[in-house]
Amino acid sequence: MKAILVFITFLISLFTSNFSQAQNINWENLKNNEKHILNANAGWEYSFVYGFSYGYHLKTKMPIILESSISLASGEVIFDDFKTKIGGQINVFQIKNFRFNAAIHGIYRRYENPLLTLQNFGADASTTIGYYKPKWFVAGEFGFDKAIVTHFKHSDIYKEVYPDVKNGWFEPTTGGNFNFGIQGGYSFARSDLTLRAGKVITEDFKSEPLIPFYLQIGYNYKLD
């Protein structure tokens, strides 16, 4: 049953994720024998999103978690706007209860509205520096999300607006956003309850998304 649960979560998170960051892990509470980390989350990142992720804890000297995630934008049509990510995070070093962590992910995401459909391949990288205790943690985070190459397909509605609009792949990069904020969590038994919040700003540091904040609550369950 456990294997099926892990497998299903992995598949869902691999093929279906939005601006969900790396899993929020209490590294101090993560035991060597806990290999699988299942996560569910919801919150605001560009729009209201909910997501699932799966992490696999490698048995290495330096703690590493390989992970995949999916997040879906809220709305009547479920699979038109989503983001999937695959990558990992690593606890780079530790000084007493202070830990420095880094994460990197490849991204595939999709967006559709009545005027067009966008598909994008991108990447994100982030760091967290925090204070970790077995029962709780708090950390600051900083990340960058780059939309590297994007495919545009326009509907007839937009072709009415501009008949000569081009479809196809667009380069160079079509966008990039920085995010910075805090995260924290409470751990009990095999579970973590986590919270992230922060601000998003575009890569020129002059403009920002329509809603330039993010907020996410999450739940982790760890299995051997």
Binding site: S47, R109, L115, V161, Y162, E171, K206, P209
Partner: protein, 330 residues
């Protein structure tokens, strides 16, 4: 086994690069995602005034009374107001222009815009097309264009011979906020909201990267006509290109400095025609009465069977009201 994995990886990478090379376009390439502006396409009709180049065209006999159409926005264009050109066949010299930084007019830096500058543009547009000194001048503004029309007579009450205001979104900052509160209620869980906001992670044009910024705003326009919208907009209406920078600039001006286009309206004694759409739940008779009260002489008319985009969707109902008003003042 290792060879199979290697072959699979090579095939996957090849497919990725093949897809990546197909129809490769530059994201900020001129004409790729949005139409060219008048400074980029010399085949478009334009005029040079007040240090800028405006997309503009006229209909009718230049010696007839002039009717200048002021489009909405800020940043939109006159494409969805082209029905007004019918008045050219009924004795009026109809002028259309995309305001500075809007539609197909030339773009400028964000920090260059001001209310006074667009009022000066309007003065120069009138001067440019005026064929004799006593030619009567009428303004017909829709939404933001109606706010601009009110601002103009507030500053120059003697220069305009008649004013038609179709649902100005607020003649001062307080009224604008009131209208915004009534018309822009959103459900954060809805598809419409996701459609509006989710694209922010795909496209993030830098300040003054007009091709990207205008495109991004344009593709979010479906928000305005989403099912159940309060403004009674039944579907998409045509536009050429949204001027995002001018929109953001005027939004910043309104937020930071406020505005009040009503301070001198009591000096404008000519009758003003207010129009509101029957189906716009955010505007209605009460809001029209509030705005009309700033003028000494006004008439309010309801346009049946339509909402905010009345000129495009129900011109047949707008036309007789406007024509009657104009003919009374002609």
């Amino acid at each position: 086994m290792k060879n199979k994995m290697l072959y699979s990886a090579v095939i996957a990478i090849s497919i990725f690069f093949f897809l990546g090379c197909e129809n490769e376009n530059e994201i900020d390439g001129v004409g790729n995602l949005v139409p060219k502006t008048v400074d980029q396409d010399s085949s478009l009709p334009s005029i040079f005034i007040n240090g800028t180049q405006l997309h503009a065209e006229t209909f009718g006999n230049p010696n007839n009374p002039m009717l200048v159409f002021l489009h909405g926005g800020p940043g939109s264009d006159y494409r969805n107001g082209l029905n007004v050109q019918q008045l050219a066949n009924e004795g009026y010299y109809v002028i259309f222009y995309d305001q500075r930084g809007s539609g197909l007019s030339k773009r400028h830096d964000k920090n260059s815009y001001s209310i006074q500058l667009v009022l000066d543009d309007l003065t120069e547009v009138i001067q440019y097309y005026r064929t004799f000194p006593n030619q009567k001048i009428f303004l017909f503004g829709h939404s933001w264009g109606a706010m601009l029309g009110a601002a103009y007579v507030n500053s120059y009450p003697d220069k305009i011979d008649g004013l038609i205001l179709a649902e100005p979104g607020g003649l001062n900052k307080q009224l604008l906020d009131d209208y915004g509160e009534m018309s822009r209620k959103i459900n954060i869980f809805s598809e419409v909201t996701s459609n509006l906001l989710y694209a922010d992670q795909f496209l993030t044009g830098k300040e003054n990267q007009h091709e990207i910024l205008d495109y991004k705003y344009g593709i979010s326009s479906s928000f305005s006509y989403a099912k159940g919208n309060k403004e009674g907009i039944p579907g998409p209406s045509p536009f050429w290109r949204i001027g995002t920078t001018v929109l953001e600039s005027f939004t910043d001006i309104a937020e930071n400095d406020g505005f009040d286009f009503t301070t001198n309206l009591n000096q404008y004694t000519t009758k003003v025609l207010f129009l509101y759409g029957e189906l716009n739940q955010s505007y209605g008779l009460r809001f029209a009465q509030k705005e009309a009260a700033y003028f000494p002489n006004s008439e309010i008319s309801e346009v049946k069977g339509t909402g905010h985009e009345m000129i495009y969707f129900k011109w047949e109902n707008v036309h007789p009201i406007v024509l009657k008003y104009l003919n009374e003042l002609k």
